[in-house]
Symmetry: C2
Subunit: 221 residues, 2 copies
DNA sequence: TTCCGTCTAGACATTTTTGTCCAATACTAT
DNA sequence: ATAGTATTGGACAAAAATGTCTAGACGGAA
């Protein structure tokens, strides 16, 4: 996810500037995103980021006008990372609807494609900031539309495609809201069979196995 | 939800102490809960609460040892409000499974019974605090067990009851994660039919109408 | 080597937030 | 009324967080 590793100077002694480590704007942004995801927007503090970078707090103001400026950059960063991925994957060609839903899940469980934690952190942030709220609302609509279109391409009526799209998307959100406690993937394997089969036709076992092989593999590493 | 109304002194002038408004520990807690829900735990600040109560910040320390003490009280308050309700309602006698699921929904959409926003705020809080995390994990397990038992009482095998319980609970979480943007209830009406019928037997229209009449009415006011 | 633009440390100033102390006020029981 | 307790305001202190300014270190180009 991060181009450069997140810096961490174990020994924060007076740093004699020899072997001086250069810190880029990207680094500030990366650590900020990291804190946003793990601790929420209120904990994104200039001093904390600077300490984690092993660098003085004041150099922050070379790269960013203010803390607010950083937060805006963070929001743009999120949009750049997470906006197009789902739409693109839902638009992929697929022979069967199972395959298509598999593409959908790939977006949410492949950390190379989509940062689920970041998405959730921004969603939480949006609850306290109208500007953020508007942007995530747009993202949600776009995603649900993309998933709906996916179902429509596979022969569902507009109404039924819409219902299925929302069920898929909401369950996805619900998974993450609970998350971390017990391994997510077990529950996935137990429930997605029914989700895919919510028309009453349970999918064939072979199709399911192909569908979740990917998620399981990702979950292991 | 709150025993006493949340105080709001419109005119915060030097307050001549005549007609003095007495502020209780409950009041501090109520406003704190209010801020927790709308702005997150990081925004629960002594000064902000005091201002909203129209009262000096220092009297806070009469009721609470410290800010940390307040946060602990807030957590106990949440547990008291939200822990037993779902278990109790899922254990209610019901003729049909539709009726039983209706009881389940009553928990989440009747603000007299259950504070959904508070539950979500604590869930968010738990992402940054291991102690909170443990308590909400326990609550989640207890709730899912209660819902599972509900399905088992209506003839589902343990496995199938478990799957259905998780789908219901996760969808509920997902709904709230998205929430506020468009009216939640429309989506509810469109999707719950399928949820209830995810065995392939769509429920009869009359049953559905009874099921959601309650939620709609609540949503209106 | 020198110069210049880039980046950083540290000092300084300000605001926000928390916590302590004590005198003063309001309320209750007598 | 009076005494005593419960509650509050305001002064004081300290810590945490943001933002500004300046001197100087670094590295590449002339």
């Amino acid at each position: 996810m991060a181009e450069r590793p997140i810096l961490h100077r174990d020994d924060p002694q007076k740093a004699p500037l020899v072997g001086h480590v250069k810190v880029t704007r990207e680094d500030w942004l990366n650590v900020a995103r990291d804190i946003l995801v793990s601790d929420g927007v209120a904990e994104v503090k200039v001093l904390a980021i600077g300490e984690r970078l092993g660098v003085s707090r004041s150099s922050f103001y070379w790269y960013f006008k203010s803390r607010k400026d950083l937060l805006n950059a963070l929001l743009d960063d999120w949009e750049g990372r997470n906006t197009a991925v789902i739409e693109a994957h839902c638009a992929l060609d697929a022979e069967t609807i199972t395959e298509a839903v598999c593409n959908f899940f790939r977006c949410f469980f492949d950390p190379e494609l989509f940062d689920q934690g970041l998405d959730f952190a921004v969603r939480e942030w949006s609850r306290r900031d109208g500007k953020v709220r508007k942007r995530i609302d747009l993202a949600d609509s776009a995603r649900i539309s993309a998933i709906t279109a996916m179902f429509e391409r596979h022969g569902f009526t507009q109404y039924e495609a819409d219902v299925r799209a929302r069920i898929l998307y909401f369950m996805q959100l619900g998974y993450h809201a609970l998350d971390q406690a017990e391994p997510l993937r077990d529950r996935l394997a137990r429930t997605e069979g029914y989700l895919l089969g919510f028309t009453g036709q349970p999918p064939r076992q072979s199709e399911l196995e192909a569908l979740f092989a990917f998620a399981r593999e990702k979950a292991r590493r």
